[in-house]
């Protein structure tokens, strides 16, 4: 039956294929649920959320079992204004492209590419980039594919606009008993949902905000797979935290979990490796690649997929027969390789917007403030004469920032405060003035863990960290983060840093995130860029003048 569009729906369909959802509308929730499978949430400020319909999103939806009719139906049902017919046709056509080609196992010929639409097969086979990846033509609708090219061909087909559905299945891998040990805690409903979606989809990416418990989604998936698992993480600290968490939450023991990093090279049923060690190149070869083949892994977990270095994509292309789970806070990649994530790791299997999880009380609400400081006249002169590449350093490390930081630390005395920065000398100076320890690149891992432990216990209330602590450190009691400088305009760094204070607080009070920025300089432009992602996620920044702040305290 055809649905008559509602006169006053919550959704507005734009000609550039963005969808505007009015959040205060009574049907907003229903509508959000209806469009979430195929539209990527792009911005979620307070009144109108923006979703974008992209081919990748539509294919994600197809992969998740939604068909074009459902998509069209959702748009038509909730749209306030009539939906342009051309757009509906375009959506149906785009969705129709997914699954025309399938990769599957043939009993006699191994991996084959089959098509339900012969001209499409002819078209892609004529492509120069496909030709070296395929073997003999088995029948008009089927062509053999070299098993080693399973990832490659998926990547190329996606680029050609004919994404293939991978039905070739997975190897089970070496079995290993893993169970969750839910004593006194349980997977949160959305984590359960994420694990379930991933497991049914085979491979794919789970998008959850920082602090929403991605590690547990990993653990849950491992408990489903019950096989040997390779976990790829960003750095050693993060590797330790994974290990710690797995020992605590699952039936795995310390001995069953190996660490494969610069310092240790253990290969155990569950092995945690860092991206860095994998991408180390000696004499033109990657010496640690054999890790992938050292065991018959049943599951590979990629932590922080949005940071996945390019070489790892290349290795991943060869691992298409193994189940892959990607975990990330955002699919936004500064290098724009979202399509490689889609074709090599898998489609998005689950996501939940930050604000929604915050509303459920699983992450702390945060108050984001940008504090603008004025450069002194002497600094302005120096800034004006500085070389272009030095300019950011100059304005980011202005002396006034120190004063503001000190004032903030004074204001939140007694709370757990993190001061995060980019430049070591600035951090050292701050550490000195605040009387706080500094964690930087040269700090040994033992020292780091000791300091983190002390901070966690509340023995230290202020910690100054460089960007080494950007990722995967778990500081449950940090309630205030002060950012004094960053890696230029990196949006995901900002999100990660905000994530530091978003873990739910024991007493439930508000988290504070301060970004100290030098006015009228390049620092301000970078800050605007960094904040854009969070502002779009609904974290509204207040902007304050430093004078105002100093006067208050």
């Amino acid at each position: 039956m055809e649905r008559v569009p509602r006169v006053n729906g919550p959704l507005i369909v734009q000609s550039d294929k963005t969808l505007l959802l009015e959040v205060d509308h009574e049907q907003a929730d229903d509508c959000r649920r209806a469009i979430a499978p195929f539209a990527e949430l792009e911005r979620a400020p307070e009144h109108i959320h923006t979703y974008r319909v992209t081919p990748l999103g539509l294919w994600n939806a197809r992969a998740a079992g939604h068909d074009a009719e459902q998509v069209v139906d959702a748009l038509v049902q909730y749209s306030r204004y009539p939906v342009p017919h051309a757009l509906l046709v375009d959506i149906a056509e785009t969705m129709d492209r997914y699954g025309r080609l399938t990769l599957s196992k043939h009993p006699a010929h191994g991996l084959v590419l089959t098509s339900t639409d012969r001209p499409v097969l002819e078209e892609v086979l004529r492509s120069k980039r496909i030709a070296p990846l395929v073997g003999a033509r088995i029948d008009p609708d089927t062509v053999a594919v070299h098993p080693s090219e399973r990832g490659q061909i998926k990547q190329v087909l996606l680029k050609l606009g004919w994404p293939a559905e991978d039905l070739a299945g997975y190897v089970d891998g070496e079995a290993h008993p893993i169970e969750l040990r839910e004593d006194g805690w349980a997977l949160r409903p959305y984590q359960k949902q994420a694990v379930e979606n991933f497991w049914h989809g085979g491979s794919g990416v789970v998008v959850l905000p920082c602090g929403a418990g991605k590690t547990l989604v990993g653990a849950g998936s491992m408990a489903e797979a019950k096989s040997t698992t390779l976990i790829l993480v960003t750095n050693t600290v993060s590797a330790r935290q994974w290990k710690h968490e797995l020992v605590k939450r699952t039936t795995l023991t310390e001995d069953e979990i190996g660490e494969y990093s610069g310092t240790r090279k253990e290969i155990r049923p569950v092995t945690i490796a860092t991206y860095q060690v994998l991408t180390t190149k000696r004499k033109g070869v990657y010496p640690h690649l054999e890790l992938f083949d050292s065991r018959d892994w049943g599951l590979i977990v990629y932590d922080e997929v949005h940071l996945l270095p390019a070489p790892v994509f290349k290795f991943t292309a060869d691992l298409q027969a193994r189940r892959r789970l990607g975990l990330t806070a955002t699919l936004v990649r500064e290098d724009g390789r979202e399509s490689d994530v889609f074709s090599l790791i898998g489609p998005k299997r689950f996501d939940a917007p930050w604000k929604e999880i915050e509303a459920q009380g699983y992450i702390a609400p945060a108050d984001c403030v940008e504090v603008r400081v004025n450069l002194t006249d002497a600094e302005r002169l120096a800034y004006a004469t500085a070389e272009t590449e030095e300019k950011y350093r100059f304005c980011a490390t202005t002396d006034t920032k120190r004063k503001v930081t000190e004032a903030l630390v004074r204001r939140f005395a007694g709370q757990q405060i993190l001061v995060i920065g980019q430049y070591i000398d600035q951090l050292d100076e701050l550490g000195e003035h605040l009387g706080a320890p500094v964690i930087k690149g040269e700090t040994t891992n033992a020292q780091r863990e000791k300091l983190f432990g002390a901070f966690r216990e509340g023995e230290i209330s202020v910690l100054v960290v460089s960007k080494v602590a950007n990722f995967s450190i778990d500081l449950p009691e940090a309630t205030v983060a002060i950012q004094v400088s960053g890696t230029f305009g990196s949006r995901q760094e900002e999100a990660q840093r905000l994530g530091r204070v978003l873990r739910p607080k024991a007493d439930g009070h508000q988290a504070h995130f301060y970004s100290v920025v030098a006015r009228d300089t390049i620092d301000q432009d970078f800050a605007a860029h960094r904040q854009r992602f969070l502002a779009e996620q609904g974290y509204a920044y207040r902007i304050m003048d430093a004078d105002e702040l100093l006067a208050e305290s």
């Binding site: 055809e2 008559v4 569009p5 507005i12 369909v13 734009q14 000609s15 550039d16 963005t18 505007l20 009015e22 911005r43 400020p45 307070e46 009144h47 109108i48 923006t50 749209s79 306030r80 204004y81 009539p82 939906v83 342009p84 017919h85 051309a86 009228d520 854009r532 502002a535 779009e536 509204a540 920044y541 207040r542 902007i543």
Partner: protein
């Protein structure tokens, strides 16, 4: 009286028993006015110029050009009927024709054909292509020549020449041999031999007997030729199966063609042809393999609710308005230049397409639409550019629904065809948008027809594209074998379907309520009554509504239709809003169209990020600065946002405005190149004293003159922001007038549609013309009524001037034609037959049949008038 009955009146069987007409002219003469009007309406070329009498009308109706035109306008079945008549005897009987159309088995075998045939015949008669009663049907000779098979023009029937035609050049001896072989007695001469052979071939029973003896291979040869083309090649020593056929005249040597007609190629020596009579026998009398008595039904592809269709169409209509405005706003400050050959360059079209975010063909459509609606034209200046016309400014003042109907009406009637843009003309020149060569006279008719077909479907149903094309092809079959999808009408129809969707005339492929209204409501042409005569013995299946010939709406009808469409559309268009939603990520969302002043202001204050049902604006430092540059102050902006935001103004946005305002104008640029003078030195002191003027770095040179370090524009701007009203001066000391912002052409009229052939005459003209023709006809053929004055021979009629005047005035009222005597300025007398139109001021304005035009005669030079004899009227 229906046309059906009228045409039957001619038939002696059913009619009054008047003598059968001997010529087309006579048959026309026997027609009544309604029927003649119908003819002239269908073939307007016949009265341009108005013929003097019916004989001339008949002659003109039989000219090649006119007949070709008329044939091209026949529907497929009527054309098939005409083709069948062309291969039938001359004259043919209705039964013979029915046999050719429905086959030997008669009407029972093909009831649809039998039912449709009288109607087709009526069409042909109405169009004066066929005349004569049912027992003596005659196809106009020119039509016969055009349609009858000849080696140069194989007929669509696939039939060859008759035995007599094919055997014309054969030696008598050879003919006698054929007779013998066919088992006929020898005759004395070739003519009787031919007759005898024709009779044999025409006689089904004897022919069947003859063919029974034929070897199977020979029959196989015949079956290959039977549905045409009927020509084949034989070697000098034909195989026995061919020999058998050749011996009996079932294959005859093809008549020698004149070399010129074969385009320089000599006819192949061994060409043989299957004579028409034989082929007809093998086809059981059918002239056509497939007859198509019924128009293909336009099928519904999908059915949506009428509400959904209207809403979708209205949404698209709104987009159309927005697009046109965006396009012309873009060109406000100097549009693209006009190519030397006229039109828009490919690069400019591309740029426009990018700006509008549409494909190039769609961009071409919008540009052409604006042009057709008269909103856009070239400015005609030395450096010729395209720009909006003054009509555009009027257009923007209209309510949205009115704006839309202006566009839609222009589209419906325009002969300019945007679909051709990007293609090449016959001389391989690229066709550019707005350029020459885009007029296609069939366009308005096809558009109207396609929409009418859509209107024929149930409400909310979209038509299957193929079925629409098939229907159009049936209504106007193509001569020749061009690929079906490629002909102009099909392409026009496809463009119509997609353009109608773009414009919002249709929604989801179905005609919307306002689109339907736009077509205008014509009193339905009453469908022909049930056929009587030969067809009436059959069960009547369905009365197919014959499409009324396309007549463009008159201006008044169009206005009424547009108003009706606007009334229907208006409630469907979204109401303009007076508010936006502001968000902390520095965006503003207008959840619908905005009121114009609000939209204008926001366009300055923020950048448009996404368009559609809603508009998303983004505030950036640059956009806020732009607003400040436009003379707004920070507090203006705060007040504006507070007034129009449904939500509190987010702190980052307020901060942004203050921050930009803080820096705005902080730096001043200047060279010591401007001065400020004023007769009132107190005012200058005031300016100098004003702290805000410090930034202008004014120095007093004399009591009434200040020198400024800044250039004049900034100085002006600065003074204005201070609240003064300075004026700029030129080097000569004249006050400079700032030019109006928007660029406009001089007044322009939209392009006139270029119709194909003369326009369909309206009723007044038709009646006048008809009256004139009849009168002329009477003047030339009918005996004159004896009048008071003996009007014999060459005598001029003589009446008193009072009588002349009275008769003239009476003639104006009754519309009669008069016979007058007239003496011209040189004193020479003549007789004329005139149809007075107006008598006033001592002059009579009349249609003069003798001169074939409307003339004005001074009454004092009219010697007298006489009525024409009207016994026959």
């Amino acid at each position: 009286m229906t046309p059906e009955e009228r045409s039957r009146k001619e038939s002696p069987g059913t009619g009054s028993g008047a003598a059968a007409p001997r010529s087309l002219a006579e048959s026309l003469r026997a027609r009544d006015d309604v029927s003649l009007s119908a003819l002239l309406r269908a073939r307007p070329d016949l009265i341009t110029p108005v013929p003097t009498d019916l004989t001339q009308l008949a002659t003109r109706a039989a000219t090649r050009a006119s007949v070709v035109r008329a044939l091209e306008r026949l529907d497929r079945f009527a054309l098939q009927t005409a083709e069948a008549l062309a291969v039938a005897g001359d004259p043919a009987t209705y039964e013979e024709l029915l046999g050719l159309m429905a086959g030997d088995d008669g009407p029972q075998a093909d009831p649809l054909v039998a039912e449709a045939l009288p109607r087709a015949l009526t069409t042909l008669r109405d169009q004066a292509l066929v005349w004569g009663a049912d027992d003596r049907l005659r196809l106009v000779r020119t039509a016969r020549e055009l349609l009858a098979p000849s080696p140069q023009h194989p007929s669509p029937t696939g039939l060859g020449p008759t035995v007599a035609e094919a055997a014309g050049g054969m030696s008598p001896g050879r003919i006698q041999e054929i007779l013998t072989a066919a088992g006929l007695p020898a005759t004395h001469d070739a003519v009787s031999a031919m007759t005898s052979l024709s009779e044999l071939f025409g006689d089904r029973a004897r022919m069947a007997a003859l063919l029974e003896k034929a070897p199977a291979e020979s029959l196989e040869v015949l079956s290959r030729l039977v549905w045409g083309p009927p020509y084949g090649q034989v070697t000098p020593n034909p195989a026995p199966r061919l020999r058998w056929l050749l011996d009996r005249g079932l294959l005859l040597p093809s008549p020698r063609l004149s070399a010129g007609l074969e385009q320089g190629r000599p006819p192949a020596p061994g060409t043989v042809v299957l004579p028409r009579e034989a082929a007809l026998h093998l086809r059981s009398g059918r002239a056509h393999h497939h007859t198509e008595p019924l128009p293909p039904v336009v099928e519904a592809a999908a059915t949506h609710s009428a509400h959904m269709v209207d809403a979708t169409a209205a949404g698209q209509a709104y987009t159309a308005l927005a697009t046109v405005e965006e396009l012309l706003k873009d060109w406000d400050e100097g549009g693209p230049s006009v190519l030397r050959a006229g039109g828009l360059s490919v690069r400019d079209l591309k740029r426009t397409a990018v700006a509008l975010d549409v494909s190039e063909p769609v961009a071409a459509f919008w540009v052409e639409l604006c042009y057709a609606a008269g909103l856009l034209a070239s400015d005609g200046e030395a450096d010729e550019r395209y720009a909006a016309t003054p009509a555009y400014d009027e257009w923007t003042e209209l309510p949205p629904a009115g704006r839309w109907t202006r566009l839609a009406t222009a589209w419906l009637t325009a002969t300019r065809t945007a679909g051709l843009v990007g293609g090449r003309d016959a001389k391989d020149r690229a066709l550019s948008a707005l350029g020459p060569g885009l007029d296609r006279s069939a366009a308005p008719e096809v558009r109207h027809r396609v929409l009418t077909l859509l209107a024929g479907l149930p409400e909310g149903a979209s038509a299957a594209r193929e079925s629409v094309l098939a229907r159009l092809r049936w209504e106007r079959p193509l001569r020749g074998d061009r690929p079906a999808a490629d002909d102009l009408r099909s392409r026009l129809a496809q463009w119509t379907l997609s353009e109608a969707e773009l414009l919002g005339v249709t929604g989801r492929g179905a005609l919307s309520g306002h689109g339907r209204a736009l077509l205008g409501e014509r009193p339905d042409h009453t469908p022909p009554a049930e056929p009587t005569g030969p067809g009436d013995k059959l069960p009547v299946h369905r009365q197919h509504h014959r499409p009324a010939p396309y007549e463009p709406l008159t201006a008044a009808e169009q206005t009424a239709a547009a108003a009706r469409a606007a009334r229907l559309l208006a409630p469907l268009l979204p109401e303009p809003l007076d508010h936006v939603l502001l968000q902390a990520d520095l965006t503003a969302v207008a959840p619908g169209p905005l009121e114009r002043p609000l939209a204008d202001m926001l366009n300055v204050l923020a950048d448009v990020e996404s368009k559609g049902g809603a508009t998303v604006y983004r505030f950036t430092p640059a956009s806020v600065r732009r607003a400040l540059d436009a003379g707004r102050t920070a507090s203006d902006l705060h007040a504006f946002l507070a007034a129009h935001a449904r939500t509190p103004v987010p702190q980052p946005l307020a901060y942004l405005i203050d921050d930009v305002a803080r820096r705005h104008g902080h730096l001043r640029v200047g060279a010591a190149s401007a001065y400020l003078r004023c007769d009132d030195d107190a005012l200058l002191s005031e300016i100098l004293a004003d702290r805000r003027s410090a930034g202008l770095r004014l120095r007093r040179l004399a009591p009434t003159v200040l020198a400024a370090q800044s250039d004049p524009a900034v100085l002006l701007e600065g003074l204005r922001t201070m609240g003064f009203a300075p004026a700029a001066e030129s080097a000569e000391g004249d006050v400079l007038i700032t030019r109006a912002h928007a660029h406009r052409t001089p007044p322009r009229t939209p392009p006139e549609p270029v119709p194909d052939g003369p326009p369909t005459p309206d009723t007044t003209l038709l009646t006048a013309a008809l009256r004139a023709v009849r009168a002329g006809d009477l003047a030339s053929t009918a005996p004159r009524k004896p009048t008071g004055a003996p009007a014999t021979g060459g005598d001029l009629p003589r009446t008193t001037s009072a009588e002349t005047l009275a008769t003239m005035q009476a003639a104006v009222l009754t519309g009669e034609s008069l016979w007058i005597g007239y003496v011209n300025a040189e004193g020479s007398a003549s007789q004329r037959v005139i149809a007075p139109i107006r008598v006033e001021g001592g002059f009579v304005t009349a249609y003069d049949h003798t001169a074939d035009e409307v003339r004005t005669y001074p009454l004092h030079r009219v010697t007298g008038v006489a009525e024409l004899a009207d016994d026959q009227l």
